[in-house]
């Protein structure tokens, strides 16, 4: 049966509900993390060496993403909290849809914290970009095909095509309003308008400045004030400053834990792995509003700190330290644990997981909004992609220095035109630094371009050609 037919038969929000079910499994198993990791390990023959098949289709991606028994029990517990944060959001959304309450779409590089102060349901329309994989490999690509059949340009970034496909198939809720921004790329600028045309609901758009200086921060800050006006007007309620203060205090802690993890990952051997930070990024994007998001960050921090204090690495013998640059491969999250297990190769820093932001001063409304604006501009992906190439390359070079990396893997994503236009510059920098680099030509959402096996082959050959394995 063709992939698209399988997906077209889905009832509205079915993929969201399936995601919730699988996350519940993770959450419940995380209550007994040791048992869970042992079970995951014992069951590996059913899903690790074998490819996706009829028996493991709905579970394989999820089981691999939670480490396939290779995560330590304390980190697994942290994942459980993260899963709960996402579950809470999906529950809110489904409840709101049933009761005809407003759901507000918040773009993937603009966090939903502000909506906490309005006590309204937020939804990240890109949720199925990652979790669409729980429907098997055909999940994402059938959503992509649906969007293309609907008329969306083929060359769009597939992440955005997934949003449109999910919307057309009724797998994500129709919003009462949308909040979007002009970063990180043209696809986002463009599809925001397409959605606005189709949805015909009020939308607030952030014009993300090109530069990152005080003037640009002020410009963005003024827009946050406008956003508050917009929400007050369309929701017909006032902002709850106490709630926002509480939210941003939690956000400060959340950011603190994750940035500490980034710092600890500089140690040799590396005490963590960046799949943890990527998982945290996804949770943050979807529902940093949930207290469980903070619990996840804290549990992750504690688990990695224990390793750090003991001088223990995430792998017994660390052989290769990798900088993963550009967006990670959504359909192959197991890449990290696979490289660790197979080659002792650890991703010590990456483009998305790296947390670099400011602490929000919650002492007054003005300071809160000023710093909150900065945190929005410092979110990964947006932070690097909205301005000149130095926003990408300076951070890359800083990571190369700070994390003592042996090599870099550049995940060249098909839809990322500005990324491809920067490759020559990146190549020249890496060549000058004599840093071995693997340039993958891949679609991070659609494995028909280069699949899991293809990635494994390219990575293996890269390591082999440098004599590391």
């Amino acid at each position: 049966m063709a992939a698209e037919n399988r997906v077209k038969k889905l009832k509205p929000l079915k993929m969201l509900k399936l995601t919730r079910l699988l996350l519940y499994l993770v959450y419940f198993f995380s209550k007994v993390p040791r048992l869970a990791t042992v079970l995951l390990y014992i069951l590996r023959p059913l899903y690790v060496p074998v490819r996706e098949n009829f028996l493991n289709r709905k579970l394989r991606y999820g089981l691999l993403t939670v480490g396939a028994g290779l995560l330590s029990p304390d980190v697994f517990k942290a994942y459980g909290y993260g899963a709960k944060a996402v579950i809470e959001n999906i529950n809110d959304v489904i409840r709101s849809v049933k009761k005809d309450k407003p759901v507000i779409w918040v773009e993937w590089i603009l966090n939903p914290e502000m909506l906490e102060a309005f006590d309204v349901t937020s939804f990240n329309s890109a949720l199925l970009n990652v979790f669409g994989n729980v429907y098997g490999a055909a999940g994402p690509w059938s959503l992509i095909e649906e969007a293309e059949n609907y008329g969306v340009p083929l060359e769009y970034c597939s992440a955005m095509k997934l949003d449109m496909g999910a919307y057309v198939l009724g797998q994500i809720p129709k919003p009462a309003m949308t909040i979007a921004g002009s970063h990180p790329c043209d696809t986002n600028v463009s599809i925001t308008q397409s959605f606005e045309y189709l949805l015909e609901v009020p939308s607030f758009i952030f014009d993300v400045p090109y530069w990152r200086d005080e003037y640009s921060y002020e410009y963005f800050e003024k827009q946050v004030w406008k956003q508050i006006e917009f929400l007050e007007k369309h929701l017909d309620r006032k902002i709850d400053w106490d709630k926002l203060t509480d939210m941003l205090n939690r956000l400060n802690k959340f950011n603190y834990y994750l940035s500490e993890i980034c710092e600890m990952n500089r140690a040799i051997p590396c005490p963590g792995t960046h799949i943890n930070l990527l998982f945290a990024w996804v949770v943050r994007e979807i529902n940093v509003r949930s207290p469980y998001a903070l619990k996840m960050a804290e549990a992750m921090y504690k688990a990695i700190h224990r390793n750090y204090v003991k001088g223990k690495g995430v792998v017994k013998k660390e052989k290769i330290r990798i900088l993963l640059w550009f967006p990670p491969i959504a359909f192959f999250t197991y890449l990290f644990k696979w490289m660790e297990e197979e080659y002792g190769a650890v991703v010590v820093a990456d483009f998305i997981g790296n947390v670099s932001t400011v602490d929000i001063d919650t002492s007054s409304k003005e300071s809160m909004i000023r710093d909150f604006a900065k945190t929005q501009m410092h979110l990964a992906m947006g932070r690097q992609c909205h301005g000149p190439v130095e926003f990408i390359t300076d951070e890359m070079e800083a990571a190369i220095e700070a994390y003592n990396v042996d090599c870099m893997i550049f995940t060249g994503h098909q839809g990322c035109k500005h990324g491809w236009a920067a490759v020559k510059i990146i190549q020249d920098i890496c060549r000058e630094r004599k840093l071995p680099t693997l340039y993958l030509s891949i679609d991070i959402m659609d494995q028909r371009h280069l699949d899991e096996a293809g990635v494994r082959n390219e990575v293996t050959e890269f390591f082999r050609s440098h004599g590391w394995i």
Partner: protein, 395 residues
């Protein structure tokens, strides 16, 4: 003796012309710029000649492809190839704009390759049209003015800017007058000739451009280029500079009477308010003029503009084009097509590469489209075709 239309066509085929050469000999500087959002008046008020960047008279993309990938648009690849070939040797400065992802990286690659000229300014325009964006844009124009003053050691005062505004408004008015000539049944000038004209007047001093435009208007008197059964086309696109491409469309039995293109309406739409404070007035004009799809909250206005043009110019059909890998125009065409279905108006969406050939395919598609329009087969989705495919658009 060569008539004005032949002269324009000949000038349009060159990237450097005798007007620019004369300016160079007079010691006037030439500043290249990339987008309809860069205020030419500031460059002119500095005593320089603004030059709209183009890939005309290029030799391909081979050297541009060293810096850009096959997933980047052919305008930047062609243009950067010309940079690497030294074709822009006459430029004293270059103004980039954050128009799209491809041109953003043009700024980065130009600096990385460290190619001349050494004045390389990134002019930043907001993606929104609102009060906050207007303030930001006003500041940006001030910053740009300051950067020009500092680098070249010149002073740009309000008086000079006002004088420049006057000249550029005159140029805009003349262009608008030429467009108006196409409202009638007998059209005196083709779309392809207008494109050539725009290529000329964006590559010469405004004073010469005004003279040329006046002669052009004279030349249009008693001239009819349309045939009685020609379809009247609204043409919409981003970057287009291939006159031959437009000729091909018109040769299939049509005349392009109105447009929304960079080297077209977007260049002259909306005059600058000469009674207001000059820099603010420039900000208002450049941010509020007929927008391109990079402006996120303005597509309703763009759609309304098409409706207005359809009525004013008695348009029979729309041809909308995009360059391959252009997300912005890709999304715009998506909206156009959905809207065309709603309004039951024929539209042909085409995709091409800049100087990419494929005339045979394009001719076939255009001919087939025109045939359908003529046969009045205007059922909702028969006439809506996506670029490169033939599926129906489902609403």
């Amino acid at each position: 003796m060569m008539d004005i239309f032949e002269k324009v066509k000949e000038l349009a085929a060159k990237d450097y012309n005798e007007y620019l050469d004369a300016m160079k000999h007079d010691g006037r500087k030439i500043i290249g710029y990339f987008c309809s959002y860069v205020p030419e008046e500031i460059i002119h008020a500095a005593g320089f000649v603004p030059y709209r960047m183009r890939a005309v008279a290029g030799s391909g993309t081979a050297k541009g492809d060293i810096y850009f990938s096959a997933l980047n648009c052919t305008f930047v690849r062609n243009c950067f190839n010309k940079v690497m070939e030294g074709d822009f040797h006459f430029l004293d400065g270059i103004v980039f704009m954050n128009g799209c992802d491809h041109t953003r990286r043009l700024y980065d690659n130009w600096r990385h390759a460290d190619m001349a000229p050494d004045f390389r300014y990134m002019f930043v325009a907001p993606h929104l049209v609102n009060d906050l964006a207007m303030d930001q844009f006003t500041t940006e124009i001030h910053n740009f003015k300051g950067a020009v003053e500092e680098h070249f050691g010149v002073t740009i005062d309000n008086k000079k800017i006002s004088e420049s505004i006057g000249l550029y408004n005159r140029k805009r008015k003349l262009l608008a007058d030429i467009y108006d000539l196409r409202k009638g049944r007998n059209v005196p000038v083709k779309g392809s000739e207008i494109l050539a004209l725009l290529l000329c007047v964006t590559a010469m001093p405004v004073e010469n451009a005004i003279e040329l435009l006046e002669s052009f208007i004279q030349g249009c008197r008693d001239r009819v280029v349309s045939r009685p059964d020609d379809l009247r086309i609204f043409f919409s696109s981003g970057c287009i500079e291939e006159i031959g491409h437009m000729e091909l469309i018109e040769d299939c039995g049509a005349v392009i009477v109105a447009d929304n293109i960079c080297l077209g309406s977007r260049h002259f739409n909306l005059p600058v308010d000469e009674s207001a404070e000059p820099i603010r007035a420039l900000a208002v004009r450049y941010l509020s003029h007929l927008s391109c799809p990079r402006m996120m909250n303005d597509f309703h206005k763009r759609l309304a503009y098409i409706e207005e043009m359809k009525k004013e110019y008695a348009v029979d059909a729309i041809i909308a084009e995009k360059l391959k890998f252009c997300d912005l125009w890709g999304g715009e065409l998506f909206i156009y097509r959905k809207d065309a279905v709603k309004k039951k108006f024929p539209i042909l969406a085409l995709e091409r590469e800049l100087y990419g050939g494929g005339q045979g395919q394009i001719r076939t598609r255009v001919q087939a489209f025109f045939e359908q329009v003529r046969n009045k087969k205007s059922t909702a989705d028969d006439l809506v075709r996506a670029s490169g495919d033939n599926y129906k658009v489902n609403l």
